[in-house]
């Protein structure tokens, strides 16, 4: 257990668990909105933030959080407009982010190795201060992603419907963008800015091979984010590769296993038969109502509803129609 007795490895593994939980938690909402690539864009923009930190001497984590959040809000506002030009504007924001980042890193006199450690992660660079920041931010992201699940689900699933239920749709959309920015920044130490998006998307894609509901997908994605993060960090300790690459390759391996499994499970499910009584009643077939203690008429108190050539009576959520000496479900 020499690996776990090394303090920098303890920190790296803890950071991996935290980002492995937070990234798929936010990623589930991004995938649901079909914005799987948003994390990529934020990662590009965050690089400029890191470079600003290196240039000015401020902690790169904080400058990256600020710049990535500004970038995420800009991306969300452009998306909201749905203009044709928004697509090109987004592309330019991404290019500007990465080019500006590389330029500023160069001006700061940092080495290519430093740049690589931010782009693809590095097990040796998680400082105790970084770990505190990652812990607090991951905690906030997880509380919001899980606590606001019904609201965020509704907004991501059908924005217009959410608006008509009175939800502050724009505020929730911006919240998701900011959560994504924060997650990208804290994941740059483990998976790195260029591959963080994979940790947001791949566990979700793997989970939904095996699930049918949103809640179960979210929970399974959290587990599927943690496992490759831990395995990837350990792998990069024994074999000297960037941890981001190891984490993402392991996560993709999980998807390749789940994909045929999910196809098989879905085929088996299709044998199931829908509920018969409801379908028959709706299809106009003869379904008899429960025993009646009274006869429906104008005075019985149950609302009358005209139905083609006869009258139905609304009785405890069902429509009853007289048929010979009993009532039918209509």
């Amino acid at each position: 257990m020499s690996l776990l007795s090394l303090e920098f490895m303890q920190r790296a593994l803890l950071a991996a668990v935290l980002t492995g939980l937070a990234a798929p938690a936010v990623g589930t909402y991004l995938v649901q909105r079909r914005l799987a690539l948003m994390g990529d864009g934020i990662g590009h923009v965050a690089l400029t933030g890191v470079a600003l930190g290196l240039l000015t001497g401020w902690a790169p984590v904080w400058t990256a959080v600020i710049v990535a959040t500004a970038g995420a809000v800009a991306i969300e506002l452009l998306r909201e407009r749905r203009r044709a030009s928004a697509d090109v504007a987004l592309a330019m924001l991404f290019y500007g982010g990465i080019a500006g980042g590389v330029l500023l890193v160069g001006l700061a006199g940092s080495s290519a190795a430093t740049l690589t450690s931010y782009l693809f992660g590095s097990v040796t660079t998680v400082s105790p201060a970084d770990l505190w920041v990652i812990g607090v931010l991951a905690g906030i992201v997880l509380v919001l992603a899980i606590g606001l699940r019904p609201q965020l689900f509704a907004v991501c699933q059908d924005e217009e419907f959410a608006r008509v239920t009175g939800l502050p749709v724009r505020a929730y959309n911006l919240l998701i963008a900011v959560m994504a920015a924060v997650t990208v920044t804290m994941a740059m130490r483990t998976v790195g800015l260029l591959l963080v998006s994979a940790l947001m998307v791949v566990p979700v894609a793997t989970a939904q091979q095996l699930t049918r509901g949103f809640h179960t997908t979210l929970l399974l994605a959290l587990a599927l984010g943690v496992a490759p993060s831990l395995a990837g960090i350990m792998f990069s300790y024994y074999v000297d590769v960037a941890p981001g690459a190891a984490i993402v390759v392991i996560a993709l391996g999980g998807f390749l296993v789940a994909w045929p499994l999910g196809t098989y499970v879905r085929r088996r499910r299709q044998v199931s038969v829908p509920g018969q009584e409801a379908e028959e009643r709706l299809a106009g077939e003869h379904v008899t109502a429960e025993q009646h203690v009274h006869e429906h008429d104008e005075t019985c108190g149950h609302p009358a509803v005209p139905h083609e050539d006869h009258v139905d009576y609304l009785h405890e959520g069902h429509l009853h129609a007289r048929h010979e000496r009993h009532y039918d479900e209509h």
């Binding site: 699933q157 608006r163 008509v164 049918r212 509901g213 709706l282 139905h307 209509h330």
Partner: protein, 249 residues
């Protein structure tokens, strides 16, 4: 005089350069079932969307339950069924999860669903006949069943007004019947409905009043002719006098 549930007064809507609605009035009173009819592009969808505040209006006023729509907060009183061919999104969701979103006007953030919320979702699923499919993923359902999921989602709020945008577009006969059944139940309890229809189909006997739009203006507003026989169903396309017998072969 009965209260106005929806009161659209002299509304003009312009989307981009194009005027879509031009001085349109629309009134839905409590307990009324009003349907918007008219050819494609006549502004039907824009009018219902303006009536619930999804589309900003350039001129005129929109009131919901006697409150200007911009100040309206009692959103649990409105159930909206958007025009859509699918209820699915990027991540799988069960029928129950989608329907439960209809309760969010009543729920507060960070609070679990109450027993009343769960009971309302159960009732909405029963209303559209999908109780047995509640734990299935919506993508496993047919198009008509998915449309019923969206109707159940709107009904879960227990609204006083249902707003439906082409709920019958491209769905199978069985789901049309199920929908007509759900609507009869809803209307039977004295509540209001505003719906956009392309053809009346099995709903004709429920509709109190038809408002016909053409090129962004109201060209007719009044009771629909009562169908004399089922096969001779009157047809409400402003540009088309052929009787439509598609649902009654």
């Amino acid at each position: 005089m009965t209260t106005a549930v929806v009161d659209v007064d002299d509304v003009t809507v312009t989307l981009g350069e194009r005027p879509v609605l031009d001085g349109v009035d629309l009134l839905v009173r409590a307990g009324e079932v009003v349907t918007l009819l008219g050819p494609n592009g006549s502004g039907k969808s824009t009018l219902v969307r303006a009536a619930i505040g999804l589309v900003p209006v350039q001129a005129g006023t929109v009131r919901l339950f006697d409150t200007p729509v911009d100040d309206f907060r009692d959103w649990h009183r409105v159930g909206y069924v958007p025009q859509r061919t699918t209820a699915s999104s990027g991540v799988p969701a069960t029928v129950r999860e989608v329907v439960a979103a209809g309760r969010l006007a009543q729920r507060r953030p960070f609070r679990p669903a109450s027993a009343e919320d769960r009971a309302a979702v159960d009732r909405a699923l029963d209303l559209v006949g999908l109780t047995d499919r509640s734990d299935d993923s919506v993508v496993e359902l047919s198009g008509g069943q998915q449309q019923r999921v969206l109707i159940a989602r709107a009904a879960a709020a227990d609204p006083d007004l249902l707003v439906l945008d082409e709920p019958n577009a491209g769905i199978d006969r069985r789901s049309q019947e199920a929908f007509a059944h759900a609507l009869r139940l809803f209307v039977g309890s004295g509540r209001s409905v505003l719906l956009v229809l392309h053809e009346l189909g099995p709903l004709a006997s429920l509709v109190d009043r038809g408002v016909v739009l053409d090129a962004g203006r109201v060209v007719q507003d009044g009771p629909l002719p009562v169908p004399s026989t089922v096969a001779g169903m009157p047809h409400e396309h402003a540009h088309d006098t052929e009787p439509d017998t598609r649902w009654f072969g």
